[in-house]
């Protein structure tokens, strides 16, 4: 058994092909213990496939995985006693009540009956499910289902929790509560790997990996990533941000543009030439604009990271 300070997850060169599609392509990961590690990426970027390989549900096509000191997929069975996995789609039984679902999960994890009873009661109370205990899971709202799924995933007090887009079907208030619950678990020493496509959730993670087309395109603390952003973010205030956007769309050095209310947010190369080209293009188009650099945020990091690949595939002539 490795020491407690060893990383919870180490993966090297992790790959998975489905036919000709490379769903996950040589991903290197290191997840330290007792923190929230986020997977940020658009749909189809390989987040679910990676999580499934980490808990031994899918065989990797290549690479090496070690989770909590177990070699995966060879030692997946002993690992399953020590991890909790929350699937993207609600996967408890719709036709069992909240309590019956939890009792079933407790028995599957071989919790001794007395301990199981205490644990189920405690979780019903902590996740505000006590009043819903007799309700069939299929009739719960999105937020309630998510609370039940989290309670089921942590019932056997796993060291590592893998959550696959846990908040995709949930309102903002429930999402806040959910994250509070996650941080309480981290305080108690649990390591959490969570995938998301929400920027605000990604921002809350201790560390973040951005996945795009199966490749790991950025890895670091959210603030580090923003500070290390190659390029600058310009905020362009003008009367007609839409026209400004059209004008700048094909300008060399402009990575991405997005309208934010009455202004245009531009991600551009940091060199002076690009800045001059932007000024000139706006002037040519007759747009009077105030241009000011601003602090990059995580969305800029995400856009910059996921933009890199298509450019690499089709280099400019």
């Amino acid at each position: 058994m490795p020491s407690e300070s060893a990383p919870a997850i180490v993966a090297r060169g992790l790959s998975r092909r489905f036919g000709a599609v490379r769903a996950v392509d040589s991903v290197d990961l290191t997840v330290a213990r007792a923190q929230v590690y986020g997977f940020l990426g658009p749909n189809g970027s390989g987040k679910s496939t990676t999580i499934r390989m980490l808990c031994g549900l899918l065989l990797p096509s290549g690479g090496a995985i070690e989770v909590l000191g177990y070699k995966i997929p060879q030692q997946a069975e002993p690992l399953k006693r020590r991890i909790g996995y929350m699937t993207q789609k609600f996967s408890l039984y719709d036709d069992l009540s909240v309590r019956e679902n939890l009792e079933f999960v407790a028995a599957v994890h071989e919790l001794p009956p007395a301990h199981a009873r205490r644990r189920v009661e405690a979780l019903l109370a902590r996740h505000r499910l006590a009043e819903l205990h007799a309700q069939l899971a299929g009739t719960l709202s999105g937020g309630e289902k998510q609370r039940l799924a989290l309670a089921a995933a942590v019932l056997h007090e796993p060291e590592l929790l893998l959550l696959d887009e846990p908040t995709s079907a949930v309102d903002p208030q429930s999402r806040r509560e959910f994250w509070d619950a996650l941080f309480a678990l981290v305080d108690a020493g649990t390591t959490i790997l969570v995938s998301t496509h929400y920027m605000d959730e990604a921002e809350r993670c201790h560390r973040l990996a951005i996945l795009d087309h199966g490749r790991l395109v950025a890895d670091g603390a959210p603030r580090e990533l923003a500070e290390a952003l190659p390029g600058v973010v310009l905020l362009i205030d003008c009367d007609n941000p839409r026209r400004a956007q059209e004008t700048l769309a094909n300008e060399r050095g402009v990575e991405a543009t997005a309208q934010i209310g009455a202004s245009l947010r531009v991600l551009a190369a940091a060199d002076a030439a690009t800045r001059a080209r932007i000024d000139a293009a706006l002037q040519r188009a007759g747009i009077a604009a105030r241009i000011a650099p601003t602090r990059p945020n995580l969305e800029d990091v995400f856009v910059a990271a996921t933009r890199r690949r298509p450019r690499a595939e089709a280099p400019p002539p």
């Binding site: 549900l57 069975e77 399953k80 039984y93 071989e110």
Partner: protein, 365 residues
């Protein structure tokens, strides 16, 4: 194998089953409905066929013959065509399925006995009608001769041992237990396991320490109980309504049923490892269901089948069960006498269950 985990899966299944009203209704509904349908509708003792009589002789003796035949109850003479052409038209239109033709020289043929004095025209497009005609061919025409002669004794006397009254339900009901169990057991398990996969429950389950054997057995065990309930329903109704005898030991009946239920469940579990969706599982279940019914000897005699069909039939659990249950219920045979059939069923169940457990991987790919 952890017994507590196995038990928790059984409890979970039973709880889900209790809430699935349709399946719950099918447990008792299917056996009852099928028993009544088969018991009343399947009757190979054909009676009251629509028939015509073409009497070209028109003598006292010919009229007497028509009355005698009518009294047998097999034919109802509803038409009296005047020409053979009219008769053929009736037959073609389906208005009648048999016709008695009495030739003009009926009395001479009867007296001389060199040519058949009568013709029974039957609709050969219906197999059952042909059988009925064979019954009529045995009619003792000699009694009509003058002076009356004693009816000649048949060459072989048939002694019907286990069903002297030749009541059809006595033959159909025991086999029906097999039909009902095959239908429900295979279908229920095949669908129950695929449903778990389709609804996504399996992805959660395989990320827990549950083992494939626990998962498979936990799914199968509740249905064993349900199967035994169905056996009881069919037996009760069969005895109460159709006076089907239970001549052998009741324990043997249940033991044979138990092994057959396990074999059928194993088939269902096996199908579920092949099917991707519940619909596919259902199609596969029906695909195995039809040949079992047709070749098991329940509907058509095993002895009359071509060799390859017999080999195929030997594989099917229902073939062995039909032999077992008819033997025990009707002939008072014991399991000790019928052990090869029981062994075949047991082997079928063990092999398929083993293969299914091996095929159940705790992975998504």
């Amino acid at each position: 194998m952890n017994l507590r985990r196995l038990w928790s899966i059984v409890v979970k299944e039973l709880r889900q089953l209790r809430r699935d009203r349709l399946t719950f209704a099918m447990i008792v509904g299917i056996p009852t409905m099928q028993l009544l349908l088969f018991g009343y509708a399947i009757n190979l003792d054909v009676r009251h066929l629509d028939a015509a009589v073409l009497d070209q002789a028109r003598t006292a003796q010919s009229r007497e013959l028509v009355v005698t035949v009518a009294q047998s109850g097999v034919l109802d003479f509803r038409h009296a065509p005047r020409t053979p052409q009219e008769l053929a038209a009736l037959l073609r239109a389906g208005a009648i399925s048999a016709a008695l033709v009495i030739p003009p020289d009926f009395e001479r043929r009867l007296a001389e006995g060199d040519r058949p004095p009568l013709q029974l025209v039957v609709d050969g497009s219906d197999q059952v009608v042909q059988q009925a005609a064979r019954q009529l061919a045995a009619l003792p025409l000699a009694a009509l001769r003058y002076p009356a002669q004693p009816a000649p004794a048949g060459n072989v006397e048939i002694v019907n041992f286990y069903n002297p009254e030749r009541r059809a339900p006595v033959n159909t009901v025991p086999g029906l237990i097999g039909v009902i169990l095959t239908m429900t057991m295979v279908l229920f398990t095949a669908m129950a396991i695929v449903r778990e996969r389709e609804r996504g429950n399996l992805e959660f389950l395989i990320a827990t320490p549950v083992s494939p054997a626990e998962l498979t057995l936990g799914k199968v065990l509740p249905f064993v109980g349900i199967g035994l309930i169905q056996v009881s329903v069919v037996l009760l109704l069969g005895v109460a309504i159709f006076r089907v005898p239970i001549r052998g030991s009741l324990l043997d009946v249940y033991l044979a049923s138990l092994v057959f239920i396990v074999a059928s469940l194993a088939l269902g579990v096996f199908l579920s490892t092949l099917a991707r969706t519940q619909f596919q599982a259902m199609q596969m279940a029906f695909f195995t269901f039809l040949p079992q019914i047709l070749l098991s000897g329940f509907m058509f005699p095993y002895a009359g089948m071509p060799r390859p069909a017999q080999w195929l039939a030997e594989i099917f659990p229902m073939t062995h069960f039909v032999r077992l249950i008819r033997g025990i219920l009707l002939r008072a045979a014991t399991l000790a006498e019928l052990w090869p059939e029981l062994a075949a069923l047991g082997a079928f169940g063990a092999v398929l269950l083993g293969v299914s457990i091996l095929r159940t991987r705790k992975r998504l790919d």
